[in-house]
Each structure stands twice: as C-alpha cells, then as structure tokens.
Symmetry: C2
Subunit: 285 residues, 2 copies
C-alpha cells in the first residue's frame, strides 16, 4: 500500500517511477510459474487457443490478464505460450494494493528460477518495474514490494537509478475496501498538484521517519491531491474521532490504519502485519 | 556468512567496506534494549560500577563486551549507562557469523525504537556499519545483514555510498564450526591477494548469480586468499567428494554448504535456512 507519492514519468522506464512511502503488507500475492502452458491449454482446444490464453494468469482460480506479465516474460526471453502462471491473494484487485505489480514481480522471481535465467534480484526487480511502468498500472509499487517493511522511495526508478530507505517499525495494519479506482486514469491525468503534495509529504517524513507520521502525512496528501472519495473521507474521520490515524491506499477506495484504528472506530477491518522481507522465493513445488 | 570479499578501507567509515557476497542465515541474533542500565547496575554496587559495565552486553546470559555497541549508542545520543542490552543467539561467536555486526545493528534498531530517536533505516544501518568498521570487527557484515537473502555487495560502504544486489534463491544451509579466527587480524594484515581474489569472484558471480556458483566461487576464493585451515579444507573436500559444494565463512573456522552437502558427507551440521528479510524489529516486550 502506498500512502503518498509524487509521479516522475520518464521515456526510459528504468528511470520512471515515483517518490513516496508505503507499507508492505503480510497479506500478499503467492505466484506459481510452471513450464508447459501450451501443452495444457491447447489440449482439446486446438492450436488457436494458445494465442488467446498467452500471458493469461489464473488469479484466485479465475482466468484473467495481468498486463505487465507478458512484458516480464518477454524480457526474460521466455515464450509466453510455454508457461502457466497462477496467483493466489486475499487482497482485493484494483483497490490500491498493487496486485498487478506484485504478480509481475512474483512472475519475474519464479520464472527466473524455473527457467534458470540466471538474473540477479536487481535485474528481476528492474524487469518487473519496467513492465509495470509500461503497462501504466503503477509507478513505484514494484521497488517497494521488493524491499518490504515500510519503504520510502527517496528517488524514482529501478535499482541503479532509484534509491530507497525505510521507516524502522513493525506494526499491526488494518484495512477496509469500499471499491476500485483506476491507477491508469489518475496517472494519465494532470499530476501536478498530486506531485507537489507528495514532495511536501516526503520532505516532512524524512524529518522524522516514524509510522505514525507516515499515516498522518498520507492522510493530508490524499486530501491535498483531491483523491478522497466520500466513503474514504468518512472512514478516516471516524478513525480520527477515536484518536487514531488512517489514510487512503494509492490508488483504490481503501482505508488503512496502523494498530487498531479502524477496529476502535467500529469498522470490521481485515487485519495483517508489516511484511519485513518483501518479495522472495518460497521454494519449488 | 560472507563467502568471499574484497577489502576497501577508507578514512571515512561510511565509505569504507567490502565488495563480495554471502548468505543471511535464519539463525540470527535477537537483541533486546531496555532503559535503565544505570539504575540496575548501580544498585548495591556503588556509582563506580556504572563505568565498568557501560556498553556491556549480556550475550546468551554472560556479561561481555561487543566492541561496536558503545559507538552505536554514542551516535544515537544515548547515554551508555542508561541502557541495558541483552542478546541471544544460537551462533558461535568469532567463527565467521558476524555476530558483532548483528548485535550492533540490533542495538541500533532497538534503541531507536525504545528511545524514539526518529532515525530512518538507512541512518541506523549507517550507524551500525560505521561502528563495526571503526572497531575493526567487520567491513561489510552490517549492510548484508540489513538486506537479508543472499546479498551481493556491488560497491562498498553504508547506504548512500555502497550498493547492493542479491542472488534470487531460497535454500537450506548447513554449517559446522571448528574454531575461531580473528577478523581484525586478517583485515589488519596485507589484504592485496585476498582483495584480488575477491574481485575476481565477484566478477564471475555477476555473470551468473546463482547460489551454486556463489558457493563454488567462495571455495576458490578461500583457497586463493590463503585462508583455509586444515579442518576447513578437509571438510570442503569431503563435501566435494560427495558431489556437493561447501566453503568457508569469512572469517572463522566454519564450513557452510547449501542443501544437504555436509550431511551427505557424514558431518552432523547445524541446519538453517536463508533469512529473506534481514534485520528487523520484532516488537516491544
């Protein structure tokens, strides 16, 4: 979950990205890559079916398309039709949890392992970051998800271009989701006001990088950037009325709070934790 | 555990460090920082006892001194006599597991939390890295331990100076320890041959950053750098005779292998895993 950010587009996707801060949640995405997509999908369907399902991902049991995945496989010189990708997540899609970036990063790590591509972690993060930027589904999710903890994006871009720091904290995280927002629509519009607000928030966070300050700066950012919806605004107000701080996930109609902020305000949130590691291989089947 | 490295001293400890590669083990060090060292230690002992125990660490129940700890506390403006530090670890001390660096890093993270110092993760890693370099107990352990996984140190130094990558792998790790070696003695001697061997190993690892290649390059490095002891050399040979690869922890009389290399060769190793997160806060008591 990103709390605040400034947008830094660039013709070179390795240099494009965002500055800002967020939380890597223990609720994540588990991605499995298997050899043999074509064999499975063409069986009983004829060769023409292969093109239809190429770069398809089975997400929580349903066939769908995760835009950056095709680019990740191409960058790793893997034939899209020779691979099957499944992903499982408890997170809602399109609600500001960066699921597309997480799937892209998971595919990069897992495919490198299955197909023995011999890439380093920085190279795999770069591949997933560029695919996400090109797809327009995110600007800085991937580098944050790769790092884990409460990542601060000091400078935008993939490893070697961007730079990261972190807020040293371990805390319970609560969230409720009211609906979806399109990241591509927001990033495709005028981001001047948003970026100015994001830069201010980052400067103030770096003065004192604590989890509490991160949430209150995120909340101010969401208001200044004009991104609050009615549902999100009233939930944030409810948490504040109970002495807590909450903010909005960038970009989705989702409210997150640290500690018991949403519970205290009478909501029935999903509860998770900060994930200290970020994305990593889990192992072979 | 560092497998191979090159030494890059510098008058500025933030720039000093090493290049190389290693493994962050799931067997680590758990550090607890409490307020109130002076009150505890002076009770019934008189004021003069405070100086004696300042910057003392209780490591696995025994009072000892971990050299970088005093510098870490000073850098965080914490009065040494106002704090008590305990550390628990299953790892042997002085055997190449970087326990002193891990304690320094753990104290930095925990003390920042207890005393609300408001530092970022990069700042805390820098504090611990500089303290370790000044003490001469290590050159690159801290930045590797902060990162987790199988860290590659591309460029030496603290965050903002050095740069890191990683080998994308998750594997079982086995180790046996035969005795101690003094890191300070090796780093204080002529490191020309060692550094040339370390630079060669890093270049070759970056061509194909896999876990297997890391271990075999580490083994060659240990030989080229003239660091092998008889016990270590014969254990590495035994593992190789069984089709595995093992190498030596830098710097200790310790042999590590990935997978079941040491078990297969008839040793009774300690078994652990790669730690994907590296150092992080666990929580308040």
């Amino acid at each position: 979950v990103t709390g605040f950010f400034s947008a830094h587009p660039d013709d070179n996707p390795e240099k494009a990205g965002s500055r800002g801060a967020g939380v890597a949640l223990s609720d994540g995405v588990r991605v499995t890559v298997r050899r043999g997509g074509r064999e499975q999908t063409t069986e009983g369907r004829g060769e023409s079916a292969a093109a239809t399902v190429s770069a398809a991902v089975t997400l929580n049991g349903e066939r769908t398309t995760v835009e950056p995945v095709a680019d990740v496989l191409t960058a790793l010189d893997i034939d899209e039709t020779a691979v099957s990708v499944t992903a499982e997540t408890p997170l809602p899609v399109g609600a500001g949890f960066g699921v597309s970036g997480a799937v892209a990063l998971g595919v990069a790590l897992a495919a490198n392992d299955v197909f023995a591509c011999g890439r380093s972690e920085n190279e795999l993060v770069t591949v997933a970051h560029c695919a996400e930027v090109e797809a327009g589904t995110g600007l800085g999710d991937v580098v944050a998800q790769a790092r884990g903890g409460l990542p601060i994006r000091l400078e935008p871009g993939a490893p070697g271009h961007g730079s990261m720091d972190g807020i040293p904290a371990r805390t319970r995280v609560e969230y409720v989701t009211f609906g979806e927002l399109s990241t591509a629509d927001v990033l495709g519009g005028d981001t001047t006001t948003l970026t100015e607000a994001g830069e201010r928030a980052l400067d103030r966070l770096l003065e004192e990088p604590t989890a509490e300050r991160f949430v209150s700066l995120s909340s101010r950012f969401a208001r200044e950037a004009g991104l609050l919806t009615d549902s999100v605004e009233s939930a944030i107000e409810d948490v504040r009325a109970c002495g807590g701080e909450a903010s909005m996930a960038m970009l989705g109609e989702t409210v997150f709070a640290l500690g018991t902020g949403l519970s205290d305000a009478g909501y029935d949130p999903v509860v998770c934790d900060v994930h200290p590691a970020g994305a990593s291989l889990v192992g072979a089947e």
